[in-house]
């Protein structure tokens, strides 16, 4: 049995500012390493490459390396198809996980994420309207993310209004109205797709969440809002810590809870819309990743936000690689993989929370 009255190793660590920072940098460093490694493996895996089941065009490992870094005949495939796809998966995963982390702080509920509370569905409505009207052709590539963001922000605002009573927001009612809004908006998307018969199959793919539309242009468009949004949430990390203890406590610690809630909903909607605009609704990433990250690094947002963001990128790159290979030579929408992981996980959280309440 450990003597609790005596300071332990981990405790003296807590009182060494330098070691505390080193530990955080270590966590970020390790995750960055895993991210690079996962991305590298993901680039190698596919219908063309040295690894993967049922690969029609099998090339050697060294040939693949030469193709990536040199100028072999396959260079174009790796550089313009595989790499943007992996980068998009990373950006979308990071955006969803970071957005989920912020939502969970705002709602003070570990079951909140952009998908569960309807922001993703809002973005999907915007993106599908833009897609069906063919706005990308007339207004350029930005039309889809802009529409997605506007609709996601409207969904976030709507959920916020529905969930608030006389200007005060109650997390439980917010979560419930989010679920209702998500179902409603999901039906609208299905309705729109039903009427777009000619593109039916492609839209279904999009509706289920898929990264097939990846290219360099999409990556460039999404990089800016995702990096900016993640950074914003990171900088408000300490305020989010305080918000998790309740709005009054946050106020008493000098944070501005009303501003914080609105800013986080806005930025969270922006991140979710960025993810949804070109890839459709990829559910549950914002739920699973923050939760697992919290179990590992704790709830302190100065470390949780970077950890969850990087883990989100790692997770989605991995999930997408699986989606590309599991039924090769065709591929699954990655949303199916995340939902298969996320659904049971959500139920597990639900059970755990209600059991905790009974205790």
């Amino acid at each position: 049995m450990r003597d609790l009255s005596r300071p332990t190793g981990s405790e003296s660590e807590a009182f060494d500012a330098h070691r505390m920072k080193t530990r955080r940098l270590l966590v970020v460093g390790v995750l960055l390493g895993i991210l690079v490694l996962t991305a590298f493996v993901a680039i190698l895996v596919g219908t063309l490459g040295p690894i993967g089941p049922g690969v029609p065009v099998r090339i050697s490992f060294s040939e693949a390396l030469r193709a990536i870094f040199g100028s072999s005949g396959y260079h174009w495939v790796f550089w313009n198809i595989r790499l943007p796809r992996v980068l998009l998966a990373g950006l979308v995963g990071a955006a969803l996980a970071c957005s989920g982390t912020a939502m969970q702080a705002v709602f003070r509920n570990s079951m909140a994420d952009p998908f569960v509370i309807g922001i993703s569905s809002g973005g999907a409505v915007g993106a599908s309207v833009a897609g069906l009207l063919g706005l990308s052709a007339t207004m350029g590539m930005l039309a889809q993310p802009m529409f997605a963001f506007m609709a996601a922000a409207m969904a976030a605002f709507g959920v916020y209004l529905l969930g608030s009573v006389r200007g005060k927001v109650y997390p439980e009612s917010l979560l419930l109205s989010g679920v209702a809004v998500a179902a409603f908006l999901g039906a609208i998307v299905s309705f729109l797709i039903y009427f777009a018969r000619q593109e039916y199959h492609q839209l279904i793919f999009w509706l289920l969440g898929s990264l097939t539309l990846a290219n360099w242009e999409v990556v460039e468009i999404l990089a800016v809002p995702v990096i900016a949004g993640t950074l914003f949430i990171f900088l408000y990390g300490r305020d989010l810590d305080a918000l998790l203890l309740g709005e009054e406590t946050a106020h008493n610690l000098g944070a501005n809870p009303e501003f914080l809630k609105k800013a986080m909903l806005f930025v969270g909607a922006m991140l979710a819309a960025s993810a949804v605009a070109f890839t459709g609704v990829i559910g549950f990433v914002g739920l699973i990743i923050p939760h697992i990250s919290r179990l590992v690094v704790g709830s302190n947002h100065r470390i949780l936000v970077p950890a969850a963001t990087l883990s989100g990128a790692i997770f989605l790159i991995g999930a997408d690689t699986l989606a590309r290979t599991v039924v090769a030579p065709t591929e699954l929408p990655v949303g199916i993989i995340t939902a298969l992981c996320g659904g049971p996980f959500f139920l597990y959280l639900l059970r755990k929370n209600s059991m905790g309440r009974e205790r």
Binding site: R108, S110, R238, T249, H251, R294, G298
Partner: protein, 418 residues
Amino acid sequence: MTLSVRALSFSFGETQVLKNINLEVQPGEFFGIMGPNGSGKTTLLRCITRYLPIEDGMIAVGGRPLEDFSAEAIARTFAVVPQNSATDFPFRVFDIVMMGRIPHAGSRLSGETKDDVEIVRQALERTDALRFSSRVFSELSGGEKQRVIIARAIAQKPKVLLLDEPTVYLDISGQIETMDLIKKLNREEGITVVAVLHDVNLAARYCDRIALLSGGTLEASGAPSDVLTPETIRSVYGIDVLVRKDPMTEAVFVMPRPAAPSIRRHGTRAHVISGGGTGGRLMKFLHDQGFSVSTGVVNVLDDDYVIANDLHIPVVAEIPFSQISDDAHAENVRLIGESALVIVSSFPVGPGNFKNLEAARAALSLGKRVFIVRSKNTPGIDFVGGKADEMVSGLIASGAAVVADVSDLLPLLTDRRG
């Protein structure tokens, strides 16, 4: 820095919660806010932290009105310890206390500094929470949690510590532990304390001054002994209490008095001969049974004297620590003469109050019914070398009835009362 509240009023919609509150809390003071549920205590605290917007009136710290403060400046002035702090999220104790440094952070880019870490360590040390600083907050006991929250409040380096019923969810050891800690900080660090307290006796024991709220207005304020009187407590809480002084601390303490059952006053006179605090239950019992009770002779300051006064019954009193004078004895016998029944408690008998046994003998010779309450295991109460026991035996021989307990009296009394 003086905290002053001037003409403060506050409403939730149509309901006025605070009406024209005026308060002044001096630097270093331990100030209590009390009142029944819904009297506006927590609302007052929330107005002070500016969590609720002030509609009418003014709150100022050191002469500066609160409106001039930034959100961070407010958090550097006031630290709040709420009733309980629950979170489902896994924060370490260290993280919770570090949150107290948020209002002191220079910029968003800079994280926790060396100074912050040192201040957190000191705060944990002062609240004796250092040894569990690495544990998960939600797994601590109620008292431990409150110590951590107080550590966070200290780390905030506030001018005024505000507490909202900090002990309400704690058991008695947690209550005392928490209040002692707050008092220590108040005395040693000079932190001004404003505490909403539910428990009248905790408030009386720890506060320099108390403000009593009732229905949103300030009913009374001042030293505990001035505010906590049976009259104000009756008017604010609507209950009868006894107010005493703790003999060791001289702090007042308040005991709720069990309400007398509504009984028919039949007016039968009963005289209690007691002393040394042995007659209290007897008097209360007879009083509640509808008898008109009187007692004597007891010394002023004797518990029996105090209880007789609390019950507003006639009492023959002697000055403290003196022998019963002939005058007092004569008065006692006169009251006995007016009574139908005389009950003798098992009071200790010394040379000073031996006359009380003579009064009992006089009662018998006046033809009164005399009862002696004396259980079999009552220890010797004779301090006059056997004369008292002899006397009591004589009384029993002459017809006095012995009962073991006060409650055994009732059937005997009602039997022949008619």
